[in-house]
Amino acid sequence: MGKYIFKRILISIPIIIGITIITFYLLNVVPGDPVVLMMKEHISPDVLERVKNEMHLNDPVYIRYFKFMGDLLHGNLGRSYKLNRNVTDLLLEAFPNTVVLSIAAIIIAWGIGIPAGIISAIKQYSFIDNFFMGFTLLGVSMPIFWSALIMQYIFGLKLNLLPISGFSGPQYVILPAIVLGWSSAASIARLTRSSLLEVIRTDYIRTARAKGLKERQVVFYHALKNAMLPVVTVMAIQVAGLLSGAVITESVFGIPGIGRVCVNAIQNRDMPLLQGSVIFTVGLVIIGNLVADIAYSYLDPRIRYD
C-alpha cells in the first residue's frame, strides 16, 4: 500500500506542473493586467509602466514562469499583487474557514443523503421513498444563490433565528451548511438508493437472510458495505469540491473561505495568488481521489494495490 501511495504522489507532480503551465499561459493570454486592475479609474500610463517594470511584469513569460517555479520549489508561493500579502498566509488563513463550512455541509449532505438513500431503497416506491427523492431533488435543483438568499430572508430577517452573514461563531455556519449540504445530498441519496437496490437483490444477500440474520444486520453490515463502493467515490469528490471553496455560498454569506480568494484572484489577474489557489485545489483533488481509492481497498478486500 505504501508503494502504491508513493507512486500516486509521484504521478501527481507532472500533473501539477502541467496545470501551472496551463494557468500561467491562460492568465497571460486573456485580456487584463493586474496593475491596470489595481489602478482602475485612477489609471495613469507613467505609473502603470513604472510599477509593471518594478514587478517584472514586462519580462518574457517563460522567465516569469521559471522564477515562479524556482520559488515554488523553495516552498514559496510568492506575494499577491493586489493584496501585498504572502500567498501561503492568505490560503492558510482562508482554508480553515472552508474546512469548517465543508465539514458542516458534509454532515448535512451525508446525514440526509445516506439515510434517505437507505430508507428509500428499503421502502422502494413507497411514499417515503418519493418524499426523500423529491426533497433531495429540490435541494439540487434550487440555484444556490437563490436558496441562500431565501434562507437569509426567512431564518435571518423574518424569524430572526440565525445571523444573516459573517463568520464569527458556530451559529454563522448553520444556514450556509444547510444550503450547501442540501444541494449535495441529492447525489448521495440517489446513488446510495440505486446502489443498495442492486446489492439487495444479489444472491449473497438472499443467503444472509436465509441464514436467519436480522434484517438490520443484512442491510447495514452486508449490503451497505458493498453498496457504498460507488458512493464513496462521489463522497471523496464532493469533499474535494467543497474544500476547494463554494464561491457563491461564501459570497452570499460573507464567509472568508478559499472560494472567494480564488475568484478574487481570477478577477484581479493576481497571478501568484491564482497559481497558489490552483495548486492548492489540485492538491486537494489528488488527495481526495487517493483517499477514495484507499477507502475502496478497505471496503472491498478484492481490491488490492501492490
Partner: protein, 539 residues
C-alpha cells in the same frame, strides 16, 4: 473494530469539529460591554491594504487611521474647506514653488512616537521610491526631483527638505496650484518612519504593524471577513465619541440590505442597491433615516474617437442630443441629482453654472447624422462589465434612445479585467462611468480625462492641441482667476465644440442609517469611504 471504540472515535471527531467551530470566532465578536459605542458598516469587498500608497480607491482605513498635513473638511453637503491638519500653518513662496509646513507639536503616532518633519519627508519619499511600487505618485510627482526619484536615478527626493523637527519645506519643479489640495487627499497620509520601516512588507497588512496618527487604530483585520478600528485615546484633537468601527465584508448587496433591516449593520450605502431607494423613501420606519449629500462628481458616457464614425464631430454631437438625460435621471435614479452640462460639477472650484446645457433634440440629432453621411444611422457597441445591473439598466435605456435616431447599439459585456485592459489600450467602445473629486480643483477632472496621455488610456482618443496644451499650462498658473477662466474656456471647447464626451448627471449619494447613529454626514465629495471621527451612536 468493536462498536464501543467506533462510538468513542466518532465522539472525539465531533468534539474536534465543535472546538474548531467555536475557534472560528474572530477576535471581534459583538461587544460584551453595553456601554461600548460601536458602529458597524458594510463593505462589498475587502480593501486589501491600508497602505494608501498602494491603492487608488480603498480609503476607508486611511481616512480613519492616518492624518494629512492639510484636511479637506466637509463644512456642508457638497462643500469643503482646506483646514490645517498635521500642519498648523503653511507658507507659499511668491513664485508658487516653495511650500513650508509648520507641524503641530506633540502629535503622537499610535506607537507613541512623536510626529516630526522627518516622518513627512520619509512618507513622501517612500511614495516616490520605485521600490514601493506606489500607485498614487500622481499626487506628489510635481515635487522637484520626483521624476529622478521615481526613475531610480536618485536615492532621495531633492525637493523635500527638513528645516527642523517641526518644519518641512517642499519645493516643486514648477508651480502647481492644486498642490495643497493634493496633500489633503488620502494619498497624502503621513506615516511614521520608524514603525513603517520596521514593519516592512507587513505595513498596511498586519494590524499591529500599521501605524498612523489618526483618531482610530487598526485593531484587527480578518481578510474577507471584517476589519475593526478602535478609538485612539490619545488623538491630538481629542478621542472620538465612537469606541469602535467594525467594517464587515459583505459582497452581496441584498445580504447587506437584510443585515441593515435586522440591525446587524448601522449604515446602508444606497449605491449598492439603487433599486431599494424608493422602498426606503416610502417606508415609515426608514424615510427619516435617509442621509443624502451631493456628489462632487459626474456620470458620463465616453466616446472613443478612434472608432468610426465617432471621429466625426457631427456624429458625436448627434449622440449628445439623442440622450434624454432628465428622463434617465427621473426614471432610473429617482430624480436624486441634477443634469450635467459640462465637466466640472457643482461644489468644485471652477464650476460654471452658466453653461447652456445640451438639449435633448431628436430632430437635431437626426439632422446632424444626415449631414455626417449617416441618414440611416449605423451600428455601434456600448461596453460594460458583467454583473453590473445598474449599468446595464442605463445602457439598455440609452440603447433604446439611440434607436430613435437609427443608431443600433449592441451592449457588449466583459469581465472587469478585460474591460479595464481594453480601455487602457484605447480600444474600448463607448461606455458609461463616473468620477468623484479626489481634491477640490478642476485639474482633478479636466486633466484626468482630456490630457493627451490620459485621453488614450481612457479610450477617448481625444486630440486637440490647443486644449491639451492649455490643460498643461493651467496646472502652473498661480493666479486663481486666470486659471478658472482658462478651465472654463477649455471645458466649453471639449464639451460643446468638440463633443468629446456626453455629460449625464451629478447624482446625490444616499445612505440610510439606524436611528442610533447621529451626526452622520455625507463627505463633501460624496465618497462611500469617509472619516467617522465626528459620528456618534446613542442607544
Amino acid at each position: 473494530m468493536p462498536v464501543r471504540k467506533k462510538w468513542l472515535i466518532s465522539f472525539v471527531i465531533l468534539l474536534l469539529i465543535l472546538s474548531q467551530l467555536t475557534g472560528c470566532s474572530s477576535s471581534s465578536a459583538p461587544p460584551a460591554q453595553q456601554k461600548e459605542k460601536v458602529i458597524t458598516i458594510a463593505k462589498t469587498s475587502d480593501p486589501g491594504t491600508a497602505d494608501v500608497q498602494l491603492t487608488t480607491e480603498e480609503y476607508f482605513i486611511p481616512l480613519n487611521i492616518y492624518d494629512r498635513l492639510v484636511e479637506a473638511v466637509t463644512i456642508e453637503p457638497g462643500k469643503s474647506e482646506l483646514q490645517p491638519g498635521l500642519a498648523e500653518k503653511w507658507d507659499v513662496s511668491e513664485d508658487g514653488l516653495v511650500y513650508t509646513f509648520h507641524l503641530r507639536k506633540g502629535v503622537k503616532f499610535h506607537n507613541g512616537e512623536e510626529l516630526k518633519a522627518d516622518d513627512v519627508l520619509y512618507t513622501f519619499d517612500r511614495m516616490l521610491d520605485p521600490k514601493t511600487k506606489a500607485l498614487n505618485t500622481d499626487f506628489l510627482n510635481m515635487i522637484d526631483g520626483a521624476q529622478e526619484r521615481m526613475d531610480g536615478t536618485a536615492d532621495s527626493t531633492r525637493g523635500l527638505k527638513v528645516i527642523d523637527d517641526y518644519t518641512i519645506q517642499i519645493t516643486l519643479a514648477q508651480p502647481f496650484a492644486p498642490f495643497i489640495a493634493c496633500l489633503s487627499t488620502p494619498a497624502g497620509s503621513i506615516y511614521n518612519r520608524k514603525a513603517t520601516e520596521a514593519a516592512g512588507q507587513d505595513f498596511g497588512v498586519k494590524a499591529e504593524a500599521t501605524v498612523g496618527t489618526g483618531p482610530f487604530v487598526l485593531s484587527s483585520w480578518s481578510y474577507n471577513d471584517q476589519i475593526v478600528l478602535a478609538a485612539n485615546p490619545n488623538y491630538f484633537k481629542g478621542k472620538a465619541d465612537l469606541d469602535k468601527i467594525i467594517a464587515k465584508i459583505v459582497p452581496d448587496a441584498e445580504t447587506q440590505r437584510m443585515m441593515f433591516e435586522k440591525g446587524e449593520i448601522d449604515v446602508f450605502d444606497c449605491d449598492n442597491a439603487r433599486s431599494q431607494i424608493p422602498y426606503f423613501k416610502n417606508s415609515e420606519k426608514w424615510k427619516n433615516q435617509i442621509v443624502s449629500g451631493p456628489r462632487v462628481g459626474i456620470y458620463y458616457y465616453n466616446i472613443n474617437q478612434a472608432i468610426e464614425p465617432f471621429d466625426d464631430v457631427k456624429v458625436r454631437k448627434a449622440m449628445q442630443r439623442a440622450i434624454n438625460k432628465q428622463l434617465l435621471l427621473d426614471t432610473l435614479y429617482n430624480g436624486t441629482g441634477t443634469v450635467a452640462k459640462g465637466i466640472l460639477p457643482p461644489g468644485l472650484i471652477g464650476y460654471n453654472p452658466n453653461l447652456p446645457g445640451i438639449p435633448y433634440d431628436i430632430e437635431a440629432a437626426k439632422s446632424l447624422l444626415t449631414e455626417a453621411g449617416y441618414p440611416n444611422g449605423f451600428q455601434m457597441q456600448i461596453s460594460q462589465t458583467v454583473d453590473s445591473p445598474n449599468t446595464l439598466k442605463l445602457n439598455e435605456a440609452v440603447q433604446a434612445m439611440l434607436n430613435d435616431i437609427s443608431v443600433k447599439a449592441e451592449i457588449v459585456q466583459m469581465d472587469e479585467a478585460a474591460w479595464f485592459g481594453t480601455r487602457r489600450e484605447g480600444k474600448l467602445p463607448m461606455y458609461t462611468s463616473d468620477w468623484s473629486a479626489d481634491f477640490n480643483d478642476p485639474d482633478n477632472f479636466m486633466y484626468t480625462f482630456f490630457s493627451k496621455q490620459n485621453s488614450k488610456v481612457r479610450s477617448f482618443n481625444y486630440n486637440n492641441e490647443y486644449v491639451q496644451e492649455g490643460l498643461e499650462k493651467a496646472r502652473a498658473i498661480t493666479d486663481q482667476n486666470e486659471r478658472i477662466a482658462l478651465y472654463n474656456e477649455l471645458e466649453k471647447i471639449i464639451v460643446y465644440d468638440d463633443a468629446a464626451w456626453i455629460p449625464l448627471f451629478h447624482l446625490d449619494h444616499l445612505f440610510v442609517v439606524q436611528p442610533r447613529v447621529k451626526n452622520f454626514k455625507v463627505s463633501w465629495n460624496g465618497w462611500s469611504d469617509m472619516p467617522y471621527y465626528e459620528v456618534k451612536v446613542e442607544e
